[in-house]
Amino acid sequence: MVASWTRKHLLGLEDLSRDEITTILDRAEEYLETARNPAARKTALAGRVIVNLFFEASTRTRVSFGLAARRLGADVIDFAAGGSSVSKGESFVDTARNIEAFGIDMVVVRHAVPGTPHLLSQHLRAGVVNAGDGAHEHPTQGLLDLFTIRKRLGRVEGLTVCLLGDIAHSRVARSNIHGLQKLGARVIVCGPPTLVPSQIAAMGVEVAHDLDAVLPRCDVVNVLRIQFERQRGAYFPSIREYFHLYGMTRERLERGREGVLILAPGPINRGVELTPEVADGPGSAIIEQVTNGLAVRMAVLDLCAGVRS
């Protein structure tokens, strides 16, 4: 056990210290083999019950948390809001309390509204892990991005990382900013001004709108998904123009640094944010990220479950 880990909840990376983040990444390293090999089950969470409380569509995050919990020996319940009492008018907090009464140890929650995991953590005795709250945070995605960078490039400290695309609506961007800065990386956020609010500079990041100008300084580019529904909201004129200005192409990549690492939290839109050549090229860690995510989520569940109130 790591003596320094005292948190029952993981609500966001903003709350964590550098040491706490490193503790999770180190623990994930230990679980990476288990993540790769389905036969190598562990028993750290045997007898524990974890519920996936997803109020917003998700496939990979929900599956990843479910697998992570099972690989550690826990029982997993999947709860989707559509078929529940929430659709009958029950309040979110009442629903969560009722589910907790089944004897739940941990709740993994995804919700479209920022702060909802925080609300739950105030009303439940169970531990709460944030699997994405609106545009606020997605801490395990941030952690797996850090883990992937550390694995590929050997360090995070001193690197320059570009977060590219729809920053305004991205919880992944915010968790990345907090995590990267705590581990000593420089962060550039880049995209059209409609998707990169100028006030984000107050978080200590460099704000850029010209990708070609900043690319030569970047060690890592994290390509965020463009949400098509945004196009109707006057955020950008067309997919074609977006791709022209911000799409990651081979030509663009060649003007960047040698060995620049490409990350994408997915799901990706080939031909919108990046070309297939880039997505599948040697600089891309997109598929690795999925396996790393499993290891990171095992680490988070293990650490948080080890803390009793």
């Binding site: 309040s91 979110f92 907090v93 609300l119």
Partner: protein, 432 residues
């Protein structure tokens, strides 16, 4: 027939901003009206209160209150709302028409007046809706509303989006001698917004409402007041830019006034970092620079009124996901101490100036004969202990709701004796 009752408030600091009085003396009340200051012949009092060390002021007026009845009695009723007012030292409230149904007819205004009479605590002055059903399309029957007791008009809670409708409303209200109270908000710019747009909203991933959404509409109202000649009063002014616009309008001689709420003088968007829905309101909590501009506006008279925007919501409604929780906080029982903390303690205003903003200034906006201790006036009186230190505890409130962000705040100053029309409604504060 019994002789009228004589009450003597002895030896208090009598502050009557309307008459520029600030002196230690006795205040005499006879038969429900102010009888005399200082000497009252050799009359004997039926009851005497020692007010040494206390401030004797006109009963406070809160011109921006949501009483929720009819329609949302789970949040507040007229009876609980006026009980909350009295506990806060407020003897008159003006209540907003965003009830269900809206206060948009003579009978609906009369219902409010009747319920207030039954409650028999604070005075209640209904404010009529500008448009039928607060839909922003057709003018309500303003003349009938005035006959039913309405003292001004607003669609508060929502703006009147159409400039044409607002222009005609101002013209029509001018003919009735009543003010238009504007909730200034451009709904397109605030769509989906749940807090002030700025560095904090970006950090939290919450959709913001830019200051410009308020300022665009404040400018529109002032321009329309200019062409209509109406008196427009800007409700809950929250941004530095709005204060500038109002100041410039007043310099041009346009009939525009403005009010500030205690929470906009004491809290900023930083509070939202807790995701506590008791910090969610419209207009939203803004920045320290806005607080300073509002205080400057109060100091130079640009903003003449303090009001609470008392907005009760039942606990189960506020205990929701942040986006789904309703806007607003209650304020009647914290009106005085939070205003003292924001304005008197730092030395921004003295007692006569601040009390003027809570008495005669709102009375003038509404055109009601309250807010003064002039002999012959209705004896609405609040006796304030300015020095008592206490801790705000919302569980003690008389309001039906508890959506208050000031719980646990250590404050100074409290209303003790409260009198309405010479009737003693409270002898000692119930708040601590």
């Amino acid at each position: 027939m019994l002789p009228p009752i004589v009450i003597r408030l002895r030896g208090g600091r009598v502050i009557d901003p309307a008459n520029k009085i600030d002196t230690v003396t006795d205040l005499w009340i006879e038969g429900g009206v102010i009888a005399a200051l200082g000497d009252f012949g050799n009359r004997e009092a039926d009851e005497t209160f020692d007010c040494t060390g206390k401030i004797v002021a006109p009963g406070l007026i809160d011109m921006h209150v949501h009483l929720r009845e009819p329609g949302r009695e789970e949040d507040e009723t007229i009876a609980t709302g006026v009980a909350s007012a009295i506990a806060g030292g407020v003897t008159s409230v003006a209540c907003m028409p965003n009830t269900e149904p809206a206060l948009d007819s003579q009978s609906s205004a009369e219902f409010v007046v009747q319920q207030a009479r039954r409650a028999n605590l604070a005075n209640v002055f209904p404010i009529g809706a500008i448009t039928k059903g607060r839909q922003g399309n057709e003018l309500s029957e303003m003349g009938g509303l005035v006959q039913g007791g309405a003292v001004a008009f607003t669609d508060d809670g929502t703006p009147v989006s159409s400039a044409e409708v607002m222009r005609r409303a101002m013209e029509y209200a001018r003919g009735l001698g009543k003010a238009i109270l504007s909730h200034s908000e451009d709904l397109e710019l605030t769509k989906g917004g749940v807090m002030h747009e700025g560095a904090v909203s970006v950090r939290l991933g919450l959709k913001g409402m830019p200051s410009a959404a308020e300022e665009i509409m404040v400018y529109r109202e002032i321009a329309l007041a200019e062409i209509s000649g109406a008196h427009v009063h800007i409700l809950h002014v929250s941004t530095a830019g709005s204060v500038d616009l109002i100041r410039n309008g007043q310099k041009k001689g346009i009939r525009v006034t403005g009010e500030a709420c205690p929470h906009h003088l004491t809290l900023t968007d930083e509070s939202l970092r807790t995701f506590d829905t008791n910090y969610k309101m419209a207009p939203p909590l803004r920045t320290q620079a806005d607080i300073e501009a509002l205080i400057d506006g109060l100091k130079d008279g640009t903003l003449s009124v303090l009001a609470t925007d008392h907005a009760p919501h039942a606990l189960e409604k506020k205990t929701r996901e942040f986006d789904q929780a309703p806007n607003g906080i209650i304020g009647l029982e914290t009106f005085l101490p939070i205003s003292i903390q924001a304005l008197i303690e730092p030395g921004h205003l003295d007692w006569p100036r601040m009390l003027g903003m809570m008495t005669i200034a709102p009375a003038q906006v509404l055109g009601i004969d309250r807010g003064t201790l002039t002999p012959g006036a209705v004896a609405d009186v609040t006796v304030i202990d300015p020095d008592v230190e206490w801790t705000i505890d919302p569980t003690r409130f008389k309001s039906k709701s508890r959506n208050c962000p000031f719980g646990g705040w250590k404050v100074r100053g409290r209303a003790e004796i409260v009198m309405v029309g010479g009737d003693i409604k409270q002898r000692k504060s119930p708040l601590a």
